[in-house]
């Protein structure tokens, strides 16, 4: 069967696609909880005030609450966050460091969080990955190492007061690396 095409989320989704607990991948009492925050910028360097960020990641043990994980589903970890950007283009999710997840050929990947970005003017979502700084396994991560040196840094969050910062530049000289999935 032929796939249904993607369309933009448009400017008027916030009353439909946001939840009071959307940014809470974990609650504030979770051990190791931190905020992952950033700003979405357009190609002119202006903040994007009508984007939606969604995150998906493994639990701290590297597991998913999902029946297709051949190691078995582990219930109780939501793994998902969603947050619209505010008028200054800012978003944030409260989460925890994901565990390592096997990739191709069973090689363990470095901890990573998949992000989807939706916005007015994006006819399809764009996908990126957040890696964490000072993570020794980053240098062995097959995905991170597949990205050219010059732009790899756009995939690594930077330390911030209450967690990490990960800005998303949709276009331009410092454009974030996006992935086709």
């Amino acid at each position: 069967m032929d796939l249904t095409p993607s369309q933009t989320v448009g400017p008027f989704f916030a009353h439909a696609l946001t939840w009071a607990d959307g940014p809470d991948v974990v609650d504030s009492a979770a051990p190791g909880a931190f905020w992952l925050r950033g700003v979405v910028y357009d190609g002119a360097g202006e903040p994007v005030p009508d984007a939606l960020i969604e995150s998906w990641q493994a639990s701290p043990e590297g597991r998913f609450d999902h029946p297709d994980d051949p190691r078995g589903a582990v219930a109780g970890f939501r793994g998902f966050g969603r947050c619209p950007t505010d008028p200054a283009g800012r978003w944030g999710i409260r989460t925890v460091r994901p565990g390592r997840v096997p990739g191709a050929n069973g090689v363990l990947q470095a901890p990573h969080i998949d992000l989807s970005v939706f916005a007015r003017g994006l006819l399809d979502r764009v996908v990126t990955r957040v890696y964490l700084p000072s993570e020794p396994s980053n240098v062995d991560d097959p995905v991170l190492m597949s990205v050219p040196d010059a732009v790899r840094g756009s995939l690594v969050a930077v330390p911030a007061v209450d967690g990490y910062r990960f800005d998303i530049r949709l276009q331009g000289e410092h454009e974030t690396v996006f992935f086709s999935v």
Partner: protein, 234 residues
């Protein structure tokens, strides 16, 4: 990886709109310029959030019953199945719907179109597909509305749909249109999709699902990518 894991096929060309579509002005500063890097599908990509319990209330599928009074407009039933490209049902998956009211205005702070808001219509619906992948909403036919993309620009009438499917790689946000809309020809969002695929976004009038003396019905099946025959890319 072990064999037998459900990898997903990549979208064939000719399916989705190019991110840079200059006729839709907002793409010009937002579409990335660099080619995306191909991400092999690992467990992170072939899993996805289980969103159901607690996210959907029993009345969420009926957008005409969310307030004290009935909203004004043409009542319609929108129904269909969520399938993968092998025709398999996608059961128990969250379907989110949002739309303008019958006057063409969204109940959103930033919609400044001078058409009336309807205190009885929020224009937001949710449901979970059943075991056969079916969903059904009761709502109103949305009005067309102007936007500032080009001279005298109007959006074709549409409903917004958000689908999660079973896996991160199946996530889809799309729009459903109505058959025979005279605004198609000048709507660059609709026309951004390759011409051979546009009809997949257009619902079909469905007499069999109408409710006599109550509501017309439109059918709209949504097809998400299917699984690969081979194990995850190694």
């Amino acid at each position: 990886m072990d064999s037998g894991l459900p990898g997903y096929r990549r979208d064939p060309g000719g399916t989705h709109p190019p991110l840079l579509t200059p006729e839709y002005g907002s793409t010009v500063l937002r579409a990335p310029h660099r080619e995306p890097v191909v991400l092999p599908h690992s467990l992170t990509e072939i899993t996805g959030p289980a969103l159901g319990e607690g996210r959907v209330l029993p009345a969420d599928h009926d957008l005409t019953r969310q307030h004290e009074g009935e909203p004004l407009g043409e009542r319609i039933i929108v129904h269909g199945r969520v399938l993968d490209s092998d025709g398999r049902a996608v059961p128990d998956t969250l379907v989110e719907l949002w739309q303008a009211n019958s006057a063409g205005r969204y109940a959103h702070d930033r919609d400044q179109h001078p058409a009336p808001l309807d205190p009885n219509f929020t224009g937001v619906g949710r449901c979970l597909t059943d075991s056969s992948g079916r969903y059904r909403f009761v709502t109103l036919k949305p009005g067309a509305y102007p936007w500032r993309n080009h001279e005298n620009a109007w959006r074709a009438q549409h409903l917004h749909f958000s689908l999660f499917g079973r896996a991160f790689v199946q996530r889809l946000v799309t729009q459903m249109y109505f058959p025979g809309d005279p605004l198609f020809y000048q709507d660059p969002i609709y026309n951004a999709v390759p011409s051979a695929a546009r009809h997949r976004m257009v619902s079909a009038f469905d007499l069999s699902e109408t409710v006599p003396e109550w509501a017309l019905a439109y059918g709209f099946d949504i097809v998400l990518r299917g699984r690969d025959q081979t194990p995850m890319e190694a």
